[in-house]
């Protein structure tokens, strides 16, 4: 019935969870400072972006992907504990349940983003208010496929494998998306553009001329969102049938 109070408690739980601080907030922040700080004003050849801008968005992509997919770890854990069944014999609707999970993931993602924006500003990233907003907007949209992926993973995988799966998935997607170093040509360049993480990372180009995604970006993100949302719905139904 009252999904709002439920969402509030979910947020409270999330922000009390130490692992969340470590993986979603701590890691990206530490990596950012380690990589970007020594040469923050230097431009990375072939990109037109400074180290600070480039890695701010790269690590934001990493951290926010982690936030979204960690929903899966939480769902897997709650399923294993039998908590999901307990919730299913309450009036909380499935919709309200997933809305709370996704909103919580976005709250985590926004926190991670904010800390990286602040760090970026301290290292000389300077954008107009409009461009900060545009960048944030694109990242939020670019995370939609990952919100669905989180739910898919949560209902497919058990708690033992969810950790390694998440870590592996995010690392590979970040790498192929061009988060760690610019992929400007060749097979990886052609292939990467089919991945949702590529477009997440491309949000950095807002810093260049205010634009980052062409039609291809929007279509790729929309397609992945549709595919993964269908997958999540399937996994959820399959999971309940097994009770």
């Amino acid at each position: 019935m009252n999904g709002i109070a439920y969402t509030r408690y979910e947020l409270l739980r999330t922000f009390r969870n130490r692992r969340f601080f470590l993986f979603s907030l701590g890691f990206p922040l530490i990596f950012f400072w380690l990589i970007a700080a020594p040469q923050h004003n230097k431009v990375i050849s072939g990109t037109g972006l400074t180290y600070a801008t480039y890695y701010m968005v790269s690590l934001a992509s990493f951290g926010t992907m982690m936030s979204m997919i960690s929903t899966g770890a939480r769902i897997a854990g709650e399923r294993q504990a039998g908590w999901t069944r307990q919730l299913r014999i309450s009036p909380l609707s499935v919709r309200a349940y997933f809305r709370a999970k996704v909103l919580t993931a976005y709250a985590m993602a926004l926190s991670s983003l904010l800390l990286l924006y602040i760090s970026g500003s301290l290292l000389g990233v300077s954008l107009s208010a409009g461009r900060w907003l545009a960048m944030t907007g694109l990242i939020m949209v670019g995370l939609l496929p990952f919100a669905a992926l989180g739910i898919l993973v949560g209902h497919l995988v058990n708690t033992d494998s969810v950790g390694p799966l998440m870590g592996g998935l995010v690392s590979i997607l970040a790498f192929l998306g061009g988060a760690w170093f610019a992929i400007t040509s060749g097979f990886l360049h052609a292939f990467g553009q089919f991945l949702p993480s590529w477009w997440l990372v491309q949000a950095r180009n807002v810093a260049l001329d205010g634009h980052a995604w062409g039609a291809r970006g929007w279509i790729t993100v929309a397609a992945w969102t549709a595919i993964l949302a269908a997958g999540a719905a399937w996994a959820y139904r399959r999971d309940t049938a097994r009770v």
């Binding site: 019935m1 009252n2 109070a5 439920y6 408690y9 409270l12 739980r13 999330t14 009390r16 969870n17 709650e78 504990a81 039998g82 908590w83 069944r85 307990q86 299913r88 014999i89 309450s90 009036p91 909380l92 009770v243």
Partner: protein
């Protein structure tokens, strides 16, 4: 008795909003060697305000029945009605609280917060402090849920089940992980809550639990109901104990005549007494035959008692789904 039972089972004599009504419930699971017929056509009706034990050995189908009663799984056949509604509607209206057989708590909240979170989902919940009070958790309210003992965890789960202020409370083997003291505490809390006029259905495989906490017991074995009646009657049917003693030179028939003894056998120097009331029997035995030694009393297992009542575990005769004559 039997005709009355049948009339009841049709649903004809039951008020539609009266309580819980399970009609012709059937449920199978897919197993590696064909279907596992967990519930094979059961008829149960529970009036509002009754406290009923669903008693049966492991694998009898108790949890499967409870899952269907709560709307967690869909029956292959038959209908469930809870206060005249389908289970999902009864749950949404906040009429049902349940403690499932398996289930832990989620981390990173205090006991008070977790109970508050559950309360927030319901239309007309109990006050959170009252739920903590009833379950004896006042002092534990501030503690994080992952730092609780087994007994405390079960009490929190009980608090989660009652915080919606349900009319029907369903408990699936709630004390299985608890020690003797924990069990005693748990049941006394349960009885106090039931005394508020609640309808309670709890599953157990301990005859004693059914006997001391319910007015009525429904015996289940191999997916069927094999007896249904007042706990005292049920206890007399399945609660036999076996008393063994080394006692040579005593006539078998005089042993069979001891109070509380239903039958006596002799194997050499050893006598085996089948007792309806073993307390009475042992007192009488020692009084009359102080020479008796190596005395041993064992409870006949429920599984054995049920097998006796059901006959072949997988028999599927035409009357197999009907309760035994003489039960209600």
């Amino acid at each position: 008795m039997t005709t009355q039972a049948i009339a009841q089972l049709d649903g004809a004599t039951i008020e539609p909003s009266g309580g819980v009504c399970l009609h012709g419930l059937v449920k199978s699971y897919r197993g590696p060697e064909g279907p596992i017929r967990a519930v094979r056509g059961i008829e149960v009706s529970i009036a509002a305000g009754e406290t009923v034990a669903l008693l049966g050995p492991n694998g009898a189908g108790k949890s499967t029945t409870i899952d269907m009663l709560l709307g967690l799984s869909k029956p292959d056949g038959g209908t469930v009605s809870v206060f005249g509604r389908p289970p999902r509607e009864a749950v949404d209206a906040g009429l049902v609280g349940a403690m499932l057989q398996t289930g832990g708590l989620i981390r990173d909240l205090s006991v008070r917060e977790l109970v508050g979170m559950m309360a927030s989902l319901y239309p007309d919940p109990m006050d959170v402090e009252e739920a903590l009070e009833v379950t004896g958790l006042n002092a534990t309210g501030g503690q994080r849920t992952h730092k609780l003992s087994g007994g405390q965890t079960q009490r929190v789960r009980f608090a989660l089940a009652i915080v919606c202020n349900p009319d029907l409370l369903v408990l699936d083997e709630p004390t299985v992980a608890l020690d003797v003291e924990g069990r005693r505490e748990f049941w006394s809390i349960m009885r106090e809550f039931a005394a508020r006029g609640k309808t309670v259905l709890f599953a157990t495989h301990y005859l004693e639990e059914a006997d001391s906490n319910a007015d009525r017991a429904i015996l289940m074995a191999h997916g069927r109901i094999v007896a249904d009646g007042p706990t005292t009657e049920i206890k007399a049917r399945v609660g036999r104990r076996t008393l063994r003693a080394t006692l040579p030179d005593v006539n078998q028939s005089s042993l069979a005549g001891l109070p509380g003894v239903a039958a006596a056998e002799r194997h050499g120097a050893v006598v085996i007494l089948s007792c309806i009331d073993s307390d009475q029997s042992i007192r009488a035995l020692l009084e009359q035959y102080p020479a008796a030694k190596d005395i041993e009393i064992t409870g006949g297992s429920l599984e054995d008692a049920f097998l006796e009542l059901t006959g072949e575990p997988d028999a599927d005769g035409p009357d197999a789904d009907k309760p035994q004559p003489g039960t209600r």
